[in-house]
Symmetry: C2
Subunit: 173 residues, 2 copies
DNA sequence: CTTGAAAGAAAGGGCCG
DNA sequence: CGGCCCTTTCTTTCAAG
């Protein structure tokens, strides 16, 4: 089982979240380690699934998808989006979260235009009762996950919360 | 002024969102182009800001931050989180969105434990009225932004909303 | 945009502090 | 575990068709 991350690991994670294309040489320079040493640590982090992958960060607005909205969806039983293949049928859905409380899921969608967004709402609305919220602007997104204060590490909820998900594109927990 | 993205650009974006460390050679093979050709396109996409950067995708659960929550925050005027430096004071805040509607902002936070989460709620609650929602599980996150259906590009809401993707009906993808 | 070649850099292995 | 050396491999970049 994987040991807890030390400070160097967090520095590595921080750097790689800012620039995922850093070479082991550059990375080693930033964290005061030699290239083989950081290569070892990075490999360990990858094998442990802490680093789930590397991806280009896309500016959706500049890519022609300037609109973002959150959709709370209370599913009709059996027609929940979660159980369907949201991948191909709903390319506009960028995130799916299962929430506590009354609503089944929280979706995040990207749209090219208001008519497009409207059409998405209608399409998703067929799956249940929806509550939509349009994003006016976004200050942060994909902000680097940082090391939490030390005192917060106690009292872990329980192992087993994370369903041993495959560390694959589109799903870090 | 940047021209609209064509199908090949979208394929490149798709591949780079799945694996941001692809070499131009590998990438070229995937999109049926030579290395120099895709290097050119990628460079153009980077300069246009469509590709905003590259980053390692972290599995926050495996990194010791298994809890996610959304916080709707209605700011007290002048004490809005948006205007403060959320960077250093709130390392747990991963996203900040300004929303339409009554609530000022939507925050997304990562926490190591329930006490930690509780403490975050209390800390952020000082800035205004909050409405919290804990995420039970996440199906997708950071799902690749995909090319929208062609018909959605028409009828932009109003000029000035997006200075990218001049959309005309019947435009080839 | 493609092919081809050259220069440069990076990754992996082995050994020692 | 980390640092240093080496060798091999790959990527990048330039040139020309």
């Amino acid at each position: 089982m994987s040991r807890a991350l030390d400070g160097t690991d967090w520095r590595i994670l921080s750097e790689l979240q800012e620039d995922g294309r850093l070479s082991f040489n550059q990375l080693g320079r930033k964290v005061n380690l030699s290239a083989p040493a950081v290569a070892d640590r990075v490999r360990r982090l990858e094998e442990a699934g802490v680093i789930a992958g590397y991806q280009a960060r896309i500016d959706a607005t500049r890519a022609g998808l300037p609109l973002t909205a959150f959709i709370k969806l209370r599913c009709s039983p059996g027609r929940c989006l979660l159980t369907t293949t949201a991948s191909d049928e709903y390319p506009e859905v960028v995130e799916i979260h299962k929430l506590s409380g009354s609503s089944c899921t929280l979706l995040r969608v990207r749209a090219a235009s208001m008519p497009h967004l409207e059409e998405i709402f209608e399409r998703i609305g067929r799956h249940g009762e929806i509550d939509t919220q349009i994003v006016l602007s976004t200050q942060y997104e994909g902000r680097p996950v940082a090391e939490p204060p030390a005192h917060t590490r106690s009292a872990q909820p329980s192992p087993g919360w994370s369903r041993a998900a495959p560390a694959r594109p589109g799903e870090p927990s």
